[in-house]
């Protein structure tokens, strides 16, 4: 097994079975549909034409490339969407380093060759994003090869193993053919995904949001800078945008739609499921900078006669964000707010304990309370959630502390 860098190979002579130089290496292709890392063929330039050399006929990969093939069998190369070309698609391009959680530029690609029986198994193993690849490419052809190798040995490598590389591809059809699914990216924390996406150019941002799972997309979108968030949603299909917005907290979805033009938000709303659409439309009517504009309608309220066990059962089927469960609200006749039970009290009480016995006085505010006063209430009463009640004293929604933190940060 030995490692060789793509930049060392490019331009190398490709020799046939007799050892005659037939052409020079132009690019190297991987066909992800057959194998994710295996090299499928080399593209070499012979005179004016470009030909394919199948990987199976390669005997040695290095400063000179030996094959046991017959050049007559080397087909003419025609461009294909289904293969990844290491030079064209990878070298100097940006990729996502899933392990390091950032966007990086590729300086070189490392290829491993392992002899198996009579031929070589060639695999892409890593991309070089550090000084070693950079200096190799700068000095290539200017410094004798062995001196360069000795020099490069001294530079600590900065490589990203291939399994932690997520490629960026803006063409949806090609993404499917190359099997780019952003699996690695999807597993990161939504806040990390948001940071990465903010570093990408617009078309690549869109590519990520078209591809990743809707729920992940929704969580990540909530963490992204408002201006960028807006431009992403504007660029997505209404259909796809609606799918993602359905997974978001209704208050966040409403805020986002409120930033779009009326025509655009109308298109997206039309594509949403009726239930989500109704919630979001209600919230959209409130002014953004008031309690109502900041509240979510996904909260847990129980009749005041319930016991702890009932509350635990209700939590199991609750679909909203966990932060909304910090307080469970109690309602009396005609859904009027009568009390609030902190989650901790439920967790530490016996299943049969009555909720009304655990209840504290619920702090609440009317829907048109300005957001500054909302923040003041959180501060004064040390709240995790704040109830918003309508003119009849009924619980309309709640505001959670994380929304207040976001609000305060964006005001500065």
């Amino acid at each position: 097994m030995s490692l060789v860098a793509l930049s060392e190979l490019l331009g190398a002579y490709v020799r046939d079975a007799d050892g005659t130089a037939r052409g020079r290496l132009r690019d190297i292709a991987v066909a992800p549909q057959d194998h994710p890392t295996r090299i499928a063929y080399l593209i070499i330039r012979i005179g004016e034409g470009e030909h394919l050399v199948p990987a199976a006929s390669i005997k040695a990969l290095g400063p000179s490339i030996r094959t046991d093939g017959d050049p007559a069998d080397w087909d003419t190369y025609t461009a294909s969407d289904g293969v990844l070309l290491l030079k064209r698609d990878l070298l100097d391009q940006q990729i996502i380093d899933v392990h390091g959680r950032k966007v990086v530029r590729v300086n070189d690609v490392e290829i491993d060759s392992t002899p198996i029986n009579s031929h070589m198994l060639l695999n892409v193993v890593a991309v070089d994003v550090g000084a070693r690849g950079a200096i190799r490419r700068l000095a290539k052809g200017l410094v004798p090869a062995f001196t360069l190798r000795a020099l490069l040995e001294k530079i600590p490598p900065r490589v990203i193993p291939w399994q932690y590389v997520d490629l960026l591809e803006t063409d949806p059809a090609r993404r499917v053919k190359l099997k780019i699914a952003y699996e690695g990216l999807s597993k990161l924390h939504p806040a990390d995904i948001a940071d990465i996406v903010e570093d990408l150019p617009p078309a690549e941002r869109e590519a990520v949001f078209e591809t990743i799972d809707e729920e992940v997309a929704a969580e990540a979108l909530e963490e992204i800078d408002p201006d960028i968030k807006k431009s992403i949603v504007e660029s997505l299909d209404s259909d796809r945008a609606a799918d993602i917005l359905e997974e978001m907290d209704p208050d966040a979805a409403a805020d986002l739609l409120g930033d779009l033009t009326e025509a655009r938000s109308g298109q997206i709303l039309k594509e949403m499921e009726p239930e989500e659409r109704q919630e979001v439309t209600q919230l959209l009517e409130f002014h953004e900078h008031t309690a109502a504009g900041r509240m979510t309608t996904e909260f847990l309220s129980m009749p005041e006669t319930s016991v702890v066990d009932d509350a635990i059962e209700a939590m199991k089927t609750f679909e909203g964000g966990y932060e909304a469960l910090a307080t469970i609200y109690l309602t009396g006749r005609a859904h009027q707010l009568v009390g609030a039970v902190p989650l901790v009290k439920i967790a530490t009480s016996s299943p049969a304990a009555e909720l009304s016995g655990l209840s504290e006085r619920a702090v609440s505010c009317p829907p048109d309370t300005p957001q500054d006063e909302v923040a003041a209430l959180f501060d004064k009463y040390n709240l995790l959630t704040l109830a918003v009640v309508d003119e009849h004293g009924r619980l309309a929604g709640i505001i959670t502390a994380d929304d207040v933190i976001t609000m305060l940060r964006h005001r500065n």
Partner: protein, 422 residues
């Protein structure tokens, strides 16, 4: 009854819509064009007016066109691709060329930074403030403003700074020029006799050389991307570029006119070596106000350019070579970015505090690097804006290409000529 008003109203509505669109995207083009009138530019324009009177005013229209053509390409690339110029050069032309362009860019920009700090120092020395106070303060101010500010807040500061260029227009009016002769000189063909004169030709080359520089293209494209302008808003963004270039050259026109009407008219054909010397020379001839306006204008222009150059260099280099960059990163996350930015300011300002100032060498070095790198940058821009895979339907049209190649060819010849005539 009011039906006749309908077309008027709809016209007003679309007009208003366009104005709103324009206001939303204005900034990058306007700012970039104005920074072009930096300490070096102001000196060149002053000298042109003092030495040749109105007879170089004809260059203003071709220079404006060239400026618009080049800037428009940078701004269009930013809007369509969402990527910076150095990103695109790296992706399309590979590591080695990018490295070469970035190294020369750092050298030429370092020279420019020194020139801007020299402008700051000499303009405030006119008011009797020592450069040993001014230069460190200005360096600290620049560093802090950029590191602490956001894109939006900095853009507002820069747009305000752009407005201060009106100083020169007022100074031009105060100089009581012969308006008719000046206007006439702007639109007439240059005299053949003048062109054969070596000094005259040298000045024409200087005027072109100071107006199109590599760093502007990197800065403009990056700020279009940063502002989030997309291909859809591009039509309005083009106006940002055009208006910016026109305003810039109107300011340049007034600088030439002010010096022509006073210095040239009274036979003072040589003003010295800096924009501050121009202000001093104007004092006895154009009056106290013109002197103050020239000095204040120089300070504003130099500080403005000194704020933009280091940061734009740091961004371009780090993006092209693949280092972490961005003011939202911590120092240890993007060390190369912050070090490069800080060193450009500290060394650029520090050179001015040296007792025996090697200013001349720095300026020669910077001009040579500029002459070396500009052809590459402009040709790269032309190749990139003609790349259909990259630009889609927004590639250059055939007619635009003819003008653009011509502009680029003339600019390159002029820049190289300036290099060899020194």
């Amino acid at each position: 009854v009011l039906s006749f008003l309908k077309p008027v109203l709809s016209f007003l509505r679309t007009w208003r819509g366009r104005l709103v669109m324009l206001l939303a995207v204005i900034g990058p083009g306007f700012i970039t064009a104005n920074v072009d009138n930096d300490a070096g530019g102001i000196f060149t324009y002053s000298q042109a007016g003092a030495q040749f009177g109105y007879s170089l005013l004809w260059t203003m229209i071709p220079i404006t066109i060239a400026l618009v053509v080049v800037q428009e390409m940078a701004s269009r690339m930013g809007a369509v691709t969402g990527k910076g110029l150095s990103d695109l050069i790296r992706e399309e032309f590979g590591f080695r060329l990018t490295f070469f362009v970035m190294v020369t860019l750092v050298v030429t920009n370092f020279g420019n930074v020194v020139a801007e700090f020299a402008g700051i120092a000499s303009s405030l020395e006119l008011f009797g403030i020592s450069r040993f106070i001014v230069v460190p303060c200005a360096a600290a101010l620049v560093w802090l403003m950029v590191v602490r500010g956001t894109y939006d807040s900095i853009e507002k500061i820069f747009l305000t700074a752009s407005a201060f260029y009106v100083c020169y227009i007022i100074a031009g009016v105060l100089a009581h020029p012969d308006w008719k002769a000046a206007a006439f000189a702007t639109v007439t063909r240059p005299q053949a006799a003048g062109i054969r004169n070596y000094g005259y030709l040298y000045m024409v080359i200087g005027l072109v050389g100071t107006s199109i520089s590599p760093w502007m293209q990197f800065y403009l494209q990056a700020s279009v991307v940063e502002k989030g302008i997309t291909a859809r808003q591009y039509a309005a963004s083009r106006w940002d570029v055009i208006l910016g270039c026109i305003f810039t050259d109107v300011v340049a026109w007034f600088i030439i006119v002010a010096c022509a009407a006073t210095l040239y008219a009274s036979g003072r054909h040589d003003i010295g070596t800096s924009g501050a010397d121009a202000a001093v020379a104007l004092r006895p001839l154009a009056g106290e106000y013109a002197y103050l306006l020239f000095a204040a204008g120089l300070f504003n222009a130099s500080l403005f350019a000194a704020s933009i150059l280091p940061i734009s260099t740091a961004y371009a280099v780090c993006e092209g070579l693949g280092f972490e960059s961005g003011l939202d990163k911590k120092f240890h996350e993007a060390p190369v970015f912050y070090w490069l930015y800080t060193l450009l300011i500290v060394l650029g300002a520090g050179v001015l505090l040296l007792p025996r100032l090697p200013l001349v060498y720095v300026s020669v070095l910077s001009q040579v690097a500029n002459g070396v790198v500009l052809p590459f940058v402009l040709i790269f821009m032309l190749l990139l804006t003609n790349d259909a895979e990259l630009m889609g339907e927004h590639t250059n049209s055939r007619n635009f290409n003819i003008i653009a190649w011509l502009t680029v060819a003339v600019t390159i010849v002029m820049t190289l000529a300036m290099l060899f005539t020194r």
